[in-house]
């Protein structure tokens, strides 16, 4: 349903997206997981014909995004990262406007609006102006709007950003439901690893404009071993070296003042690790152990946390730009 080949976007000197290859099957929920400024929104913008690729090709629903824009646009729905509803109009009117713009007939619109508002549970609120909606309600309405014209592909750019955990779970539920009901292919970008894990059939981890891992969430995690141990020790670098020599762990990585270890048999290993540290004169302040998450996958691949940078995506892009210029 979506196939890209060496898809690249440059803004001046900055390469925001670097030669990305994606092959997304019909009906799949596919996730692009990465920190802010990794190139997720740029990728989605190219696939939804808002930005023209610098080089490479992308075929969405059978049409080239650079040369057959209008054909692509008919078959896609987009939920943007930033709000894009008309606050003065009611929920019903927002969907009505969308349906008209996409050339749907009156009966078609009427039926579809009711169907979608029921799906996202906003039917009671249909005649209230959108400015009186809560953040979660607006998001649900935007998802309904993205589906209004029965697209074959739905793009969701950070669908739950800024929402509270409970609302986030609701949104996930709606996305799963509509994916099942409508058989629509979904491409979702996120920097929440729980979201990618729960929602997606397949995940591509993206960093600095490149895909650094691509697989089913379960398989990405199982490559990490059975458990992940995080230790707060006095000299993390030194401890990392010691651990590497011991051959107990699959992978190790220092992030800040913590050591992240991927291991097979965590419970038995913890005492050994403590003894090892003490023998070498290091203080162990705390130890935690958990099953691997996509966050751990990201840490092992990049040595950074997903949500390390609290800055906005433009700030992150700027940082990368400055860093490139530096060398």
């Amino acid at each position: 349903m979506i196939d890209t080949k060496e898809l690249t976007k440059r803004f001046g000197e900055l390469t925001a997206v670097k030669s990305i290859e994606l092959h997304i099957q019909e009906g799949e929920i596919f996730g692009l997981l990465g920190p802010n400024g990794a190139g997720k929104t740029t990728t989605i913008s190219m696939l939804s014909t808002i930005l023209t690729p610098t080089s490479g090709t992308a075929i969405v629903a059978g049409h080239n995004v650079a040369t057959e824009r209008e054909d692509v646009r008919k078959d896609i729905g987009v939920v943007f990262q930033d709000p894009s509803l008309d606050d003065e109009l009611t929920g019903y009117e927002n969907l009505e406007f969308h349906g008209r713009l996409y050339g749907m007939s009156k009966d078609e619109r009427k039926e579809r609006i009711v169907e979608l508002l029921e799906l996202v549970e906003l039917i009671d609120k249909k005649d209230i102006p959108v400015k009186n909606y809560s953040g979660g309600m607006k998001r649900r309405l935007e998802i309904a709007r993205g589906l209004m014209h029965k697209p074959r592909v739905l793009f969701l750019d950070e669908p739950t950003i800024g929402l509270d955990p409970q609302t986030r779970r609701y949104i996930w539920k709606y996305i799963k439901e509509m994916n099942a009901q409508e058989r629509v292919t979904v491409l979702v970008t996120t920097h929440y690893m729980e979201e990618a894990d729960y929602l997606c059939d397949k995940v591509a981890i993206i960093d600095h404009g490149e895909i650094i891992a691509l697989d089913k969430p379960s398989r990405l995690k199982s490559k990490m071993g059975k458990s992940v141990i995080s230790m707060d020790v006095s000299k993390p670098d030194k401890f990392c070296e010691l651990v590497r020599k011991s051959k107990w762990v699959i992978k190790s990585k220092c992030v800040g003042d913590k050591v992240h270890l991927t291991v097979k048999d965590g419970e038995k290993l913890i005492p050994k690790l403590v003894i090892l540290a003490e023998k070498n004169g290091l203080n162990v302040n705390s130890i935690t152990m958990h099953s691997p998450t996509l966050e751990d996958v990201f840490i092992q691949l990049t040595g950074r946390h997903l949500r390390e940078e609290q800055a906005s995506s433009t700030d992150a892009l700027r940082k990368r730009f400055m860093a490139r210029r530096g060398h």
Binding site: S84, L85, D86, L89, E93, G103
Partner: protein
């Protein structure tokens, strides 16, 4: 269909914003009542009409100018609140979006002008026939269509509503004062006359005045031709500016 959709949205916004409708009447009415009454006794204008009657078509031009240019503010707001993206990603050519915005902005300005005209009529400032009222509608439409697009052209370049208002005020006042809305064009000194004749709004107001109270400076067909040509040019530039946006 897409053009109608965009137009419909502009109308819905207009109808819901009662304060904007009432507010837009304020300035033209103040001009007519205070300046018009004040100068009525001091001034005589050609054709033997009173100054207030002379000025009435001028303030109709004023409300058309203000209403039209500020409908560009809707474009700035659409950009700011993200709704522009919803329109840009739809399978609709951008020229349709511009035409929809133009018709929407022109219709709302036209409705404001008609409301003002009826108020002016009821106040007794000017008398005109129903036929004259029907005849001024096309003139008013082309005045609005032109200035809506001038608003759109600026709106595509400006993303801050306050910046838009400041820049537009800078343009609107000279356009209004140099349009023959407040004084007759015939006997002006050379430099001023050149500026007034270069202003498309001059012909719009002259056309309105010719139909409503008689005594136009230029033949009606010249007024009308200049307005149609000018609005065609602004629509084309507006569509181009929209195409190049972002």
């Amino acid at each position: 269909m897409a053009i109608y959709t965009i137009w419909l949205r502009e109308m819905l916004h207009f109808i819901r914003d009662k304060s904007r409708i009432i507010g837009s009447m304020g300035m033209p009415l103040f001009f007519l009542l205070f300046i018009g009454t004040g100068l009525n006794s001091a001034f005589s204008v050609p054709g033997g009409v009173g100054y207030m009657e002379f000025m009435a078509p001028g303030i109709v031009g004023m409300i058309l100018l203000f209403g039209s240019i500020f409908s560009g503010l809707n474009v700035v707001a659409d950009k700011q609140f993200g709704f522009m993206k919803e329109m840009l990603v739809a399978p609709v050519p951008r020229s349709s979006l511009v035409l929809g915005k133009t018709l929407g902005g022109a219709s709302t300005a036209l409705l404001q002008a008609l409301l003002l005209l009826s108020l002016v009529f009821l106040l007794g400032a000017v008398k005109f026939s129903l036929i004259a009222l029907l005849l001024v509608i096309p003139i008013m439409f082309f005045i609005s269509a032109s200035f809506v697009n001038i608003g759109i052209i600026f709106a595509t370049r400006i993303s801050d509503p306050h910046g838009f208002q400041v820049i537009m005020n800078f343009f609107i006042m000279p356009l209004f004062f140099l349009s023959g809305a407040l004084f007759p064009v015939d006997n002006l000194p050379g430099w001023l006359k050149i500026l007034v004749l270069a202003n498309p709004l001059t012909y719009g107001i002259d056309g309105l005045r010719g139909i409503l109270i008689g005594h136009p400076t230029f033949p009606l067909w010249i007024d009308f031709t200049i307005l149609v040509v000018f609005s065609a040019i602004t629509v084309l530039i507006g569509a181009y500016a929209f195409e190049k946006m972002q």
